[in-house]
Symmetry: D3
Subunit: 284 residues, 6 copies
């Protein structure tokens, strides 16, 4: 193997053998406050060498899994609609090939491309959304496509009763009212997560993890740190339930590595990605 | 409005309409270890644009409040006594005008100016003090006025049985003994906070929050981080009881933004200031 | 004056009295490598208080000048064409009002909005362009509007023989060939700058300064530092010739303050902006 | 006293009077990922002036203790075996002199020198090991001596049933299996710590604290931050049980101060060192 | 020697044998913009181990010199007048003992204490002052004692025709006019330095070096970096002329080490201090 | 091509076609002061995407060259002798295959492995050495193999009259005397570089570039920044003469990227590597 290949640790399968396809979506073009999530996929791959492939939590190992690291998509600058199209195409192709797409953002808007593809394949798609922010604005500074309205756009695709939001602790008043009106499950923390998992068994579930759901003490490397989040152990406990679900796709987003010069935020992202991969994989 | 006005988010009332007057006290002239709190008021105003005006915790919004952001006081350098006088004058004027003063420090010594004014108006003033440090030295390197003896000076003004200290976990042995001798309430954490709130109902209460009461994991942007502090949620829970009290004045101090390059400490300060403002405001 | 107004130092005239109008264009949406220039206008205004209004180099003072600081334009995210339109409209209005527009970027693409407005008013517009990079790509990752092709777009507006590039030391081979073919003046450094000033006397000149023309030793706070640039004194010497010219508009761009945590890059930007303002102003 | 002496705060006894001898082992020569622990002893001594000598937790004061700060050992570069010999010699001498050695690392490999000396003196030596990582590899990139196999080497010296590991949450599968096979106590967290203390009463115990046992939110200044660790209060609670034990030696290692520019990690290290010293000291 | 003694490299003489006495003045209490020079003496001593004792420029070695490192003075906080008194007393004592005082700041105000002592002993004292800033304000925000008016206070002590300022490139218009009126030599750079050295031969000369005379590219670790300064080689060339003069005292000030995280500014300070020491020493 | 391959920009040839073989030697195990050069090869490859493949200085393009990027060697930790053997073996193989080895360090000690291989093939090997430091100690803290004595070891291999040192400005007195005694050419700067090039025409020359030869203003990202170095343009001018020589091997070392958080030092390293590659390549 070429020595300069930098895959996510333990994700060295060939595409054909893989049941999960990892790819990066290094886009931060609509970030309103502090950009930098474009650097996340590279930072995550590089620093993944600082963790192990083995998880003592679930006693599984990435080297016993079939995961292909497809590298990053290449995006034009200043054109969010084109970015979303490119992601939708990629996710669609992975689905056609019978594999699970796992996207590493980038800002949260990238999720829209994935959900467009997923909701076409799975009309009954449910979304589990962990985040500090509601992301339910209709427009943001006049724009329909931004990291601040991704879940509003997602709702337009999947409709009422399909979105389950956890960790939400920031938004405009109107956004909280919108969620209520349209029967979102919405919690400040992860209370009730296991009940939702029970309820969603057997249904196609898309899991989107905005890492700022974590408390900034755990994860300060993000554009808009929001105090009062969940702990790492709380998030880990939730993630370890994912193997009970039919997870049809995932993304992990909003790491902005340069804001945490200790590297701890990137290490947190790597570890939680490993745990998710080990939950949703099929065994070799 | 001039586009270069940088108020704390949602604090755009005129002085005459305001029931709370926010002002900055950018002084760090007696800081013994690592200075930098002088930069806090500006950092807090600027980064307040990264949070929302609405609080989902108490379902209130700063835009429904009447708060005037009066900018920063201007201080001479190297003259703490003059600084304290300037703050006392400012607070006295705000009290004369029937409004609640809310000061953003600066180092903790700035509190002395506020308490001088408050204790003149309210002879029965009680002080709730959240901090990692006792701040009860009599002299510090020969000086009577410093961030290390602010509560000793405050005690000289309000006397025994009036000071309630929470989160205190560092000091000299003599300071802890002094507190005991003079009937301070003094806790390592926030245990008993709600009982104190019940007890102080109806009395004039000054609330002084040294942000280093928070654990350094939550708030590392401060001059002397002290391990073993309270979590953000614990602090938030305490703050949400303030609306039961007759809070006659407040301050929030000891953010030194440059020590936390992630910006998370400043974001924590902004959010807790928002929550305090929403607790002590009168509704529009 | 409201204490929270943060103008560039000494730029406190009213719009009507002003002969120069300063405004910020905090856009970095097409930055390919490392974003962050969106923070430059705020950083420059804040840190301008660290320099003086008086220049001992030319014995002039900003307080004897008439300059209005108009604050920042507000831009939608992810829509470069709209950004350019907003800038063009702003510059056009300033020109209609008989004042000189002085824009603080943002990435270099913002210059396009200014040149669109200027070239409509001045069909014989000449452009003096200081930069490390040619910025002459036709397309960049499929996009026509980006910081990497701003001067190609400018050339489409002003034509051959009108663009004078100094300090250029990076680009694709085809870009250098394009410049040669279309009779650009193009230098690795500032050689011949004074001759060009003599030649352009009396003509309408737009001055666009990409601060990365400076050597990274002087100015590392930028997205793509390029070794081998000019020194501060060389740049200052060039800038001090601008009063010989009919400068109809200016911009200073590509400061990304977060990459230079010492603040020196921002201080350099502030000082060079002061010197340009003092060269192109009319006296009070 | 020479003004340029920088001892750990309150550790100013002479060697002859001391019952604890503190020394630094600034070695990071086998660190695989991110070096920098060589700077820990100096950072800890310097920043120890930001904490107090008095502990309100146990109501004891370092100034009532007899501790000698012996400075740092000097090591050759690139020769781990020689480093371990130098440490072993030092620890042996301190033991011969009837004092308790307290070593500040450096990387975790330095512990091997101490355990070599201790296990010679105490054939029945037990080891309490707090860490995020198993450190049980047999070889690491072909080397027998590295921070990744320190506990494997220690096991070779003390044998089965003697090593108690807490906080362990990362390692290769084979390392976890090795621990199981050889009857290590091994926990993800500090569960059962007090039971182990009861069990080990009267036996000679070496206490080795790899500070990365703490969650990275508390302690990000380390080479390989590993999410999911213990809180400061949990660690403090454990440490406060040490006075029940016959602690024959200690070390605290793996602070890499430069990775936490807030200084909070160093402050955490200083405070926990103070608390351990106060637990294992004899009173003046 | 106690292993925790941290002297400036090669400055290990006893006081009685010394002909130069080095001491630190870690005061930054009147710094108007960005504090931090209080950390300079410690940083300089620590990092001095990164340079050699030998200078290939002048072929001399600190180990052949007699220099005593006296450590730092201890100052009260918030009391500049007391700080100046303490420095004056220290310098007076060193002069009484027939040695040359060499002070490491701290902010520039510390120089006033030294000049008070020196001008009492040497009524004909001349001052060579290298700086970016005039430091000639009469008052600064109402205060007579601050880093912005140190040279005005010095002038009150030594009178007209005695102050030679080099590198000066920032100040208010009135300050430049004051210098002219009182016959200061004042240069933007180091032009004419060697002529001044010739002119001052045999006279008692105090040499005060504000390190911000250096260009920020060389020395960004300072509170108010001012572009357009001298290069390291230019400063070195000037310093190497000092052995022609009767230098009765020196100081080097305004390093604020935390603003330059690369450590280069501290390394520059260490090297220039070594070179000055080697120029003004008497040989062993 | 796999999307996760991160080669140095433009170095995408196959081994068989290549005339230059680039490889990384990420070793910093004997660094005495501040480690971190182990991260240089990865940082250089990653950030090389921020520069162009084309050089306007020499009008050549890496894409017209045949260069293979062989990735990094893997080293054991704590075993410098083994590291040097691995490098010697690698360089020998590249020489056997008729290609030019180009090594990216790592600390300067890595050069020894290369020179061992080269001096076996070329008994008449000459070495051009650019550095701030003499690197001529015989032993360093008792060790024969360290970054402080690499040139002493090299001299033992090639003998007198073969080593040409430029930019040297730091060392012990004995090192300068050693160089003189053994007829080294040794300059503070790059004076006489072109004469040496003329003199060495036709002879086998090894070119070793310790990047700290650059002034810290240009290149602060290194373990021991040493003021008074050469400018980028001076270095570039020297490098552009290399095509006159028979360069049989090269290395570029001592970048420690984490010390320069602006990225400018890494950008400087990338650009100078590009220029060297373009000088020593054969054309496609």
């Amino acid at each position: 193997m070429n020595k300069n290949i930098v895959n996510f640790i333990g994700c060295d399968s060939e595409y054909d053998q893989a049941d999960i396809v990892l790819f990066g979506a290094p886009f931060d073009g609509t970030t309103s406050f502090r950009p930098g999530t474009r650097f996340a996929p590279t930072a995550i791959r590089t620093d993944s060498n600082g963790i192990e492939t083995y998880s003592p939590y679930c006693d599984r190992d990435l080297i016993d899994s079939n995961i292909f690291d497809n590298g990053d998509l290449e995006f034009p600058f200043g054109n969010p609609a084109a970015v979303i199209d490119l992601i939708e195409n990629k996710v669609s192709q992975i689905l056609v090939d019978g594999k699970i797409p796992f996207m590493i953002g980038g800002e949260h808007l990238v999720t829209l491309g994935a959900i467009k593809a997923q909701s076409k394949k799975y009309p009954d798609l449910h979304i589990i959304h962990l985040d500090a922010h509601t992301d339910l604005r209709d427009e943001y500074l006049g724009e329909k496509l931004s990291h601040a309205n991704i879940m509003r756009r997602a709702w337009e695709l999947v409709g009422d009763n399909k979105i389950y939001q956890f960790g939400i602790r920031s938004g405009e008043k109107a956004e909280f009212e919108f969620a209520k009106k349209h029967n979102f499950i919405q919690k400040f923390n992860l209370d009730g997560f296991s009940e939702i998992v029970e309820k969603l068994k057997g249904k196609p579930v898309y899991f989107t993890l905005d890492l700022d759901v974590l408390d900034p003490s755990v994860f300060c490397g993000t554009g808009t740190p929001e105090a009062g989040g969940v702990t790492f152990k709380e998030l880990l406990t939730a993630v370890m339930l994912l193997n009970k679900l039919n997870v049809v796709g995932c993304d992990v987003n909003e790491l902005s590595p340069h804001y945490d010069q200790s590297g701890a935020s990137t290490a947190v992202a790597c570890k939680i990605i490993r745990e998710i991969l080990l939950q949703i994989r099929r065994k070799k």
